[in-house]
């Protein structure tokens, strides 16, 4: 509602929808929002630690990019987050609220871990990796498809259905963690495979061995990112997704089978999230736990939404968020706060970015100033 203050029937401030806003202008608003958020965070950091915020931001930067190893880890984690966000993009573009990425990632990771544990020794590496890739995608796809079937058939609320599917996946993971526990009593699975063979680990791209660079993680995710971009923008399927997202009735009138589009798109969305689980297990943690997804399924929702379904914009936002996370973990350990400081900083910055969308879509008109831009 636009009425802020009444005087002679004309409100002091009116809100008007912008017809169009140039892209640089829109980005200027977003950058401004991030800067404002960093100022607010700086004040908060100062209040908590009494330290010079500039110094704190410097050590944040050190935490994310201070050494070669840290830079690779930052890139690796950005890619996992990006992969999930890219997976969500088709679903969100169709206005299908897939809140279930967390679960889809977990089942993908679970299948990957199972393959590593049970058949890791008996397959050649390339075949094992392909098998894990395909199976994790299939597992994620199933997890995504179930709510879509019910949505297509009976219009069952997908937001809440996918949310519940997360917890089914979490309990399923807890079950297998308890079964695969190693060493006994630790309630963790430990590094797999057990024989130390590293069968099923994503290898280095630039050198021999493992865990030095994460080039393959980056390549896999960037290929998926480009593919989904093209799928959404240039394919017939992508067009149908856009129409369903704009208006279900229009889609039906145009002869699009809405239910089919729901199921097909969620199959794809879940599959990509499942692949993110494969990357998280085979390419990063080499173990499985209920925190393999680690809330990234939820963070990715925000990434996908803020990027307006443009998968290339998601690269920037994923990098920003992971940078913040790594930086905040660094300041937490350096200045004796705990890791949760990163969630607070992330939350504040997201609030500002979310809020800034308003000033991109609408403008304020003050009384007596007619058409002037506010």
């Amino acid at each position: 509602m636009s009425t802020v203050h009444h005087s002679h029937g004309v409100p002091l401030i009116r809100i008007v929808k912008r017809t169009s806003l140039s892209r640089p202008h829109a980005w200027a608003i977003r950058v401004l929002a991030v800067i404002l958020a960093l100022v607010v965070c700086a004040l908060l950091i100062y209040a908590l630690t009494n330290l010079n915020p500039i110094r704190v931001y410097n050590s944040m930067f050190q935490g994310a990019f201070g050494t070669g190893k840290r830079t690779w880890v930052t890139l690796r984690d950005s890619m996992t987050l990006l992969c999930i966000a890219v997976g969500l993009a088709p679903a969100f573009k169709m206005r299908f609220w897939n809140i279930g990425a967390e679960g889809q990632v977990l089942v993908g990771g679970l299948v990957t871990a199972a393959l590593m544990l049970y058949i890791g020794a008996s397959f050649p590496t390339w075949l094992l990796l392909v098998l894990m890739f395909v199976c994790s995608a299939a597992a994620g796809a199933v997890w995504g498809l179930v709510p879509a079937v019910f949505k297509a058939r009976w219009n069952t609320n997908e937001t809440l259905f996918t949310l519940m599917m997360n917890y089914i996946a979490i309990q399923l993971t807890s079950y297998f963690v308890a079964r695969w526990e190693h060493p006994f009593g630790s309630n963790t699975v430990g590094i797999i495979p057990r024989d130390g063979s590293k069968a099923g680990w994503l290898p280095n791209l630039l050198s021999e061995g493992f865990n030095k660079d994460f080039g393959w993680n980056i390549i896999i995710v960037l290929v998926i990112t480009a593919a989904v971009f093209a799928y959404l923008k240039y394919s017939k399927h992508g067009y149908e997704i856009a129409v369903v997202g704009e208006s279900e009735n229009t889609a039906r009138y145009a002869g699009i089978s809405v239910g089919k589009v729901y199921m097909r798109t969620m199959l794809l969305s879940g599959a990509i999230c499942g692949i993110a689980g494969f990357i998280a297990v085979s390419g990063a943690s080499h173990t499985i736990s209920v925190s393999t997804a680690g809330g990234r399924g939820f963070t990715a929702i925000i990434v996908a939404w803020l990027a307006k379904f443009n998968t290339f914009t998601m690269i920037i936002i994923s990098l920003l968020l992971v940078f913040l996370e790594k930086g905040a973990i660094q300041i937490a350990s350096e200045f004796n706060l705990n890791d949760y400081a990163s969630q607070v900083i992330t939350g504040i910055i997201l609030f500002f970015i979310i809020g800034s969308e308003f000033f991109i879509n609408y403008r304020l008109v003050f009384r007596g100033k007619g058409g002037h831009r506010a």
């Binding site: 509602m1 636009s2 809100i15 008007v16 929808k17 609220w97 809140i99 019910f150 009976w154 219009n155 069952t156 609320n157 937001t159 809440l160 259905f161 949310l163 519940m164 599917m165 997360n166 917890y167 089914i168 309990q171 399923l172 807890s174 079950y175 297998f176 308890a178 079964r179 809330g295 939820f298 963070t299 929702i301 925000i302 939404w305 803020l306 706060l337 705990n338 949760y340 400081a341 990163s342 969630q343 607070v344 900083i345 992330t346 939350g347 504040i348 997201l350 609030f351 979310i354 809020g355 969308e357 308003f358 879509n361 609408y362």
Partner: protein
């Protein structure tokens, strides 16, 4: 017999946490706002109450339980309202997407609570575990005379006052939404804000108030968890987050009726703790049992969508922001 009693007790205590959460969320959702920030709000309610009690107990010469209780109750409710205010400002005034804002609030709330919870644990020194024994004892007080009335006394009376407060609030909210004039207006806002606006109901005011007060009630769930359930301590184990999502699930289970949420909450509690009382379960298979509340919610969700009874459906404008000029 005694294990049955303790199962029922565990279920009721567990249910109370999510009953607060879901009652608040029902009030919020009736205004058309789907606030997925419930876990964050419960976190904020919990830590605000705990921190208040901690500072009161460490500064007062002779801390008194009732004073600590009142202070922490008020601060907890207020802090949760502020969390709701952040959500309201972003979604109502700035028309941000509700799901995204809610999820961000969950991240933020869990961060704030665990940051300060961890710091409080540090400040408490010694064993590194904060404890507000005096206030927590006041929260957990019950009448021994009533609780001594055999099994019934144990099942019905052996709880702190917030168990009964949760029931009273749920009944009151149901009455308020269904029977009062203001509640009727609120439902109109949630079903069709444009129609409500045309009938000169102040849509913005209703949405703000319902969301903030709803958040306040949800926050009490977090308070009950810290003060009673884990006896005035803090644990950064993410339990509140799980319970917060269960509260969201309970809203669906109760099909937006707070009274139905009462037995729903206790049923969730029974399902959640059932594994503990079934013999022969391994640690692994007990994890499968903990799936039950979520599976049941999914089944309810499907059944509700199958039957399409009008009174069981979510508010029609749920999840959408309202912009008068868009009509």
């Amino acid at each position: 017999m005694s294990s049955l009693i303790s199962l029922i007790q565990a279920a009721i205590v567990f249910g109370t946490v999510i009953l607060f959460g879901s009652t608040g969320e029902i009030l919020t959702e009736k205004s058309g706002n789907l606030n997925l920030g419930v876990p964050g709000i419960m976190y904020i309610g919990g830590i605000a109450g705990l921190a208040t009690a901690f500072f009161y107990e460490s500064h007062a010469a002779v801390p008194h339980g009732i004073v600590g209780l009142l202070l922490s109750l008020i601060v907890s409710f207020a802090a949760a309202c502020v969390a709701g205010l952040i959500y309201s400002f972003l979604t109502i005034t700035l028309r941000a997407n509700q799901n995204v804002t809610g999820l961000t609030l969950s991240i933020f709330g869990s961060g704030v609570a665990n940051l300060f919870g961890g710091s409080l644990n540090n400040m408490a020194g010694g064993v590194g575990q904060i404890s507000v024994a005096v206030t927590s004892r006041a929260y957990r007080a019950y009448f021994p005379a009533l609780a001594g009335l055999g099994p019934v006394g144990k099942i019905v009376f052996q709880y702190g006052f917030m168990v009964y407060l949760a029931i009273i609030v749920a009944i009151f909210i149901t009455w308020f939404i269904n029977r009062s004039r203001v509640g009727l207006n609120l439902r109109a806002v949630g079903e069709s804000p444009a129609t409500a606006d045309a009938a000169s109901i102040n849509v913005t005011k209703y949405k703000y108030l319902a969301t903030c007060l709803g958040a306040g009630i949800s926050g009490l769930g977090g308070l009950y968890y810290t003060m009673d359930y884990i006896k005035g301590t803090w644990a950064t184990d993410g339990t509140i987050e799980k319970l917060g999502w269960l509260a969201v699930a309970l809203v669906i289970f109760a099909s937006w009726k707070a009274v139905r949420g009462i037995w729903g909450a206790y049923l969730f509690g029974l399902l959640f703790w059932a594994y503990f009382y079934i013999s022969g379960l391994t640690r692994a298979s007990s994890e499968l049992f903990k799936m039950l509340p979520y599976l049941v919610t999914i089944v309810v969700l499907i059944v509700v969508s199958l039957r399409k009874r009008r009174e069981n459906q979510p508010p029609a404008s749920l999840g959408l922001s309202y912009f008068r000029e868009d009509r």
